[in-house]
C-alpha cells in the first residue's frame, strides 16, 4: 500500500456533469495482472503529477476483444467491441490513452469500422505530449549512467509506426540508450502476440522470449524498457531463463519516468 492515487470513474464524472480530458483505458492486464498493475499505478502517478483530469471506466470496462480477434474468434471480438463502443459513445468519449499496445491498436484501427471513432494514443505518446506542453517535467539523476535498451512492442512499433515517443521519454531520464541489433521496424517479437500469451508454444527448439531477451542482453543493459504489459512479462521470463534477474530488470517506460521523479 503506497500513497493514495487519484482515480475517478466515468460514472463519477457523469454525476458531476463533467467530461474528462482523456479516458485511461486500463485494459485487462493493467487491471488484473500483478506486474501490469504496477504499470497502471506508475502511469497514474504521472497523470496525477501533471494534474490531468482523466477518467477510467472501472468495473464497466471489459476486454477490447483484441486477443479473441487475433485468435480467430471474430465473433467474440465484435461482441466485445460493440458493447464497449456502446458504453464509450454513451459517455461521449473523444480521447483514449492506454498502456497496452494491443488495446491501442484495436481501439485505434479496428473500432472505427464498427462505429467507435476516438482519438487513441499510447501512454508513451501521451506522456511525451504532457512534457512537450510543459505539464510534466522529467529530470534527475536516478538513471544517470544506466544502460537502457528499449524493446519495441510489435503492435506499437511495426504495426503503428510509433518508434520515437518511447525513446524520447527514455532520453529524458539521462540514461544511456543502447539499441538492439534488431529494433524499430525489424524488432523481433517478444512471443506473446497473436494470443500466444495464453497458450503453450508449439513444438520448437527455443521459446521466442528467450531469443528476444538474448538480443537485449547483447547490449549489456542494466534495464530493458518496454511499453507493453505482455512484452514485460515475456522479457521478465526471458531474463530468468538467461539467469540474469539479479543484474537486469525489465521496466515499463512509465515506471522509469515515475521512478526518476521519486514517485
Amino acid at each position: 500500500m503506497s500513497e493514495q492515487l487519484k482515480v475517478k470513474t466515468m460514472q463519477e464524472f457523469m454525476a458531476e456533469g463533467k467530461q474528462p480530458e482523456i479516458l485511461f483505458w486500463v485494459g485487462s492486464a493493467g487491471s488484473y495482472d500483478d506486474r501490469a498493475k504496477k504499470i497502471s499505478r506508475a502511469f497514474v502517478k504521472l497523470l496525477n503529477k501533471a494534474n490531468v483530469d482523466f477518467a477510467v471506466l472501472g468495473t464497466e470496462e471489459s476486454s477490447t476483444g483484441d486477443v479473441a480477434k487475433r485468435a480467430g474468434n471474430e465473433f467474440l471480438f465484435q461482441m466485445q467491441a460493440m458493447m464497449n463502443i456502446e458504453l464509450l459513445n454513451g459517455y461521449e468519449i473523444k480521447r483514449i490513452v492506454t498502456c497496452d499496445p494491443h488495446s491501442f491498436n484495436t481501439l485505434k484501427n479496428e473500432y472505427p469500422g464498427l462505429g467507435g471513432k476516438y482519438d487513441v494514443v499510447h501512454h508513451t505518446q501521451y506522456l511525451k505530449e504532457l512534457i512537450d506542453n510543459g505539464r510534466l517535467t522529467i529530470d534527475g539523476e536516478v538513471y544517470k549512467g544506466k544502460r537502457i535498451t528499449f524493446h519495441d512492442p510489435c503492435y506499437l512499433g511495426r504495426a503503428n509506426s510509433v518508434f520515437e515517443a518511447p525513446r524520447e521519454l527514455l532520453s529524458k531520464t539521462n540514461a544511456d540508450l543502447v539499441e538492439m541489433k534488431r529494433h524499430k521496424k525489424i524488432a523481433l517479437c517478444c512471443g506473446a502476440g497473436g494470443a500466444q500469451m495464453f497458450k503453450e508454444p508449439e513444438k520448437g527448439d527455443m521459446d521466442v522470449n528467450v531469443l528476444r531477451t538474448k538480443d537485449a542482453l547483447e547490449t549489456q543493459p542494466n534495464i530493458i524498457a518496454t511499453g507493453c504489459p505482455y512484452c514485460n512479462t515475456m522479457m521478465t521470463d526471458g531474463i530468468k531463463a538467461h539467469e540474469k534477474e539479479d543484474t537486469v530488470t525489465v521496466l515499463d517506460v512509465a515506471e522509469l519516468l515515475a521512478n526518476s521523479q521519486g514517485l
Binding site: C154, I186, L188, R212
Partner: protein, 440 residues
C-alpha cells in the same frame, strides 16, 4: 525461300505470345476464384507504393548484397528489353540492327546492354553460389526441397545462357562488321563482347554468320520460352510484383479487417427487438462460411499474393516462430496457397471449367493447424516482403475458420475465450474487481 526466316520467326513469335496469353488467362481465372475485396481506396498511395516498392526496389536493398545483385538483374531485364524489341522487328522485317541509324545513341545503347549483360552474369553467379555453395539458411528450409530448388536454379541457368548468347551474338557480329561482310553494317559499340572476339580469329565469314545467326535465334527463342516458363515457376514476380504492390495493404499493419458477415450477426444478436426464434425466410441466402479452409474462401488479392511470391524466404527468416524451430514458415503458407490454387485450376481444366470437389482443401492437406497456431501476428513477415505480400492475413483467415466453424482452438485458448465471454477478461477474475489495482 528468301522469306523463310521471317516466316519461321513470325510463327515462333505468335506461338510464344499465344501460349503466354493462354497462361495469363488461366492465371486471371484462378485469381478470380478468390472472393471480392474492395481495393478502390487510397489510389495515390497505391501508385506511390508501386513506384517505390516494385519499380524503385526500395525493400530489396534492405539486404544490401542481394538487393544490389537483384538491381543488376532487374535493370538488365528492363533495359535489355529495348534490344529485344529490335530483335523482334529485325526478325519480322528481315533487317539487321534496325535501330543502327540512331548513330551514337545506338552505340551507347548497345554498350550499356553489354555492360548490363555482364553485371547480370555476375549477379546470377553470385546468386547461384548463395543457393548452392554457401547454402544460405532461407534457401534450404524444408519447403525448398525438390521443385522449388530446381526452379530457382533453372532460372539462374536460363538467365546465364541468355546473356552468354547475347554477348556471343555481338562478338560474332562485330567480327563480321570488321571483315566487311555484306548485310553486317558497322553499328554498335562492344565493350564486353570484344573480349570474346579473339575466340573467333581466323574463322571464315560463313562460319561467323552461322555462329551469329545461331546465337541470335537461340537468344530470342530462349526469351520466348522463358516467357512461357514464368507461369510454371516462382518467377512470375517479374510481372506480378507491380499489381501486387499496388493492391498491397495500405492501412496500418496492425489493423485486421472486421468480418462483415459477423457484424451482421452480432448486430442482430444485440438488437433487443429482434426475435431470436424467428425462422429465416425460405429464400434467405445460405449463411456465409466464416474464415477460410480452402483457396476459394480467400480474397483475390491473397491469391494474387500467392502467385507473386518468388520464394525468397525473407519472411520466413524474420519469423519469430520459424527462428525458434516451429513448423510455421510464412513462405510455405504462400507456396501452399499457390500449389492448392493450381490444383483447383487443374481440376477445373479437366471438368470444363467447373470445380469438382476432390476431397482436399488448403487446411490440413497443405497447411496444418500446428503451423497456424504458432503465429504471433507480429507482422515481421509482412514487413520483410519486398513485394507487399501479406501471409499473416491468410493465417488469420484460417484461424477464423478453425475457431468459428470448427471450434478447434487449442484448449488454453478456449479457456481464455470463455473467460472473456463470462467476465470480460482473458483471465477468470471478477469484473467487479477491475478497479482494485488503484488501492493495492
Amino acid at each position: 525461300m528468301e522469306y523463310l526466316p521471317n516466316i519461321l520467326f513470325v510463327i515462333a513469335l505468335v506461338l510464344g505470345i499465344g501460349f503466354f496469353t493462354r497462361n495469363v488467362k488461366k492465371l486471371t481465372r484462378n485469381i478470380k476464384l478468390g472472393k471480392d475485396v474492395d481495393v478502390s481506396d487510397n489510389k495515390p498511395q497505391r501508385w506511390r507504393n508501386m513506384v517505390r516498392i516494385a519499380l524503385g526496389q526500395t525493400k530489396m536493398v534492405v539486404r544490401p548484397v542481394a538487393g544490389l545483385m537483384h538491381i543488376f538483374v532487374y535493370v538488365g531485364f528492363i533495359i535489355i528489353n529495348i534490344e529485344v524489341l529490335e530483335i523482334i522487328l529485325d526478325g519480322i522485317l528481315g533487317t539487321h540492327r534496325l535501330f543502327a541509324p540512331l548513330g551514337t545513341l545506338y552505340d551507347v545503347l548497345i554498350a550499356s546492354f553489354e555492360v548490363l549483360a555482364l553485371l547480370v552474369i555476375v549477379a546470377v553467379v553470385i546468386f547461384w553460389i548463395r543457393r548452392n555453395i554457401i547454402k544460405l539458411q532461407r534457401f534450404i528450409k524444408p519447403e525448398m526441397k525438390g521443385w522449388p530448388k530446381t526452379d530457382g536454379n533453372l532460372i539462374l541457368y536460363i538467365e546465364f545462357v541468355l546473356m552468354i548468347l547475347f554477348l556471343t551474338m555481338n562478338a560474332a557480329d562485330s567480327q563480321l562488321q570488321q571483315l566487311g561482310a555484306a548485310h553486317y553494317t558497322e553499328a554498335g559499340a562492344f565493350p564486353i563482347s570484344q573480349f570474346i572476339m579473339p575466340l573467333f580469329d581466323g574463322l571464315s565469314i560463313s562460319t561467323l554468320i552461322t555462329i551469329e545467326r545461331t546465337a541470335w535465334w537461340l537468344h530470342i527463342l530462349g526469351i520466348l520460352a522463358f516467357l512461357n516458363y514464368l507461369y510454371y515457376s516462382k518467377h512470375l514476380h517479374i510481372l506480378l510484383a507491380f499489381p501486387n504492390t499496388y493492391y498491397g495493404k495500405t492501412s496500418p499493419q496492425g489493423q485486421f479487417n472486421n468480418l462483415e458477415s459477423v457484424t451482421n450477426e452480432v448486430k442482430l444478436m444485440m438488437d433487443p427487438s429482434a426475435d431470436p426464434y424467428a425462422v429465416p425466410p425460405e429464400d434467405a441466402p445460405e449463411p456465409e462460411k466464416f474464415g477460410a479452409s480452402d483457396v476459394m474462401d480467400l480474397n483475390w488479392v491473397q491469391l494474387l499474393n500467392a502467385y507473386t511470391c518468388t520464394e525468397c524466404g525473407r519472411c520466413t527468416s524474420e519469423c519469430p516462430a520459424n527462428q525458434t524451430g516451429k513448423k510455421l514458415s510464412p513462405r510455405k503458407i504462400m507456396m501452399d496457397t499457390r500449389d492448392r490454387l493450381e490444383e483447383v485450376g487443374k481440376i477445373m481444366d479437366a471438368n470444363k471449367g467447373e470445380f469438382v470437389d476432390d476431397g482436399k482443401q488448403l487446411l490440413n492437406d497443405y497447411i496444418t493447424p500446428e503451423e497456424l497456431w504458432a503465429c504471433t501476428t507480429c507482422n515481421a513477415c509482412v514487413q520483410a516482403c519486398p513485394v507487399s505480400i501479406d501471409p499473416l492475413s491468410i493465417i488469420v483467415e484460417m484461424r477464423r475458420y478453425l475457431v468459428m466453424e470448427q471450434s478447434a482452438a487449442p484448449m488454453e485458448l478456449n479457456n481464455m475465450m470463455s473467460n472473456i465471454e463470462n467476465n470480460g477478461a482473458p483471465w477468470p477474475y471478477n469484473q467487479m474487481d477491475r478497479l482494485n489495482w488503484v488501492n493495492e
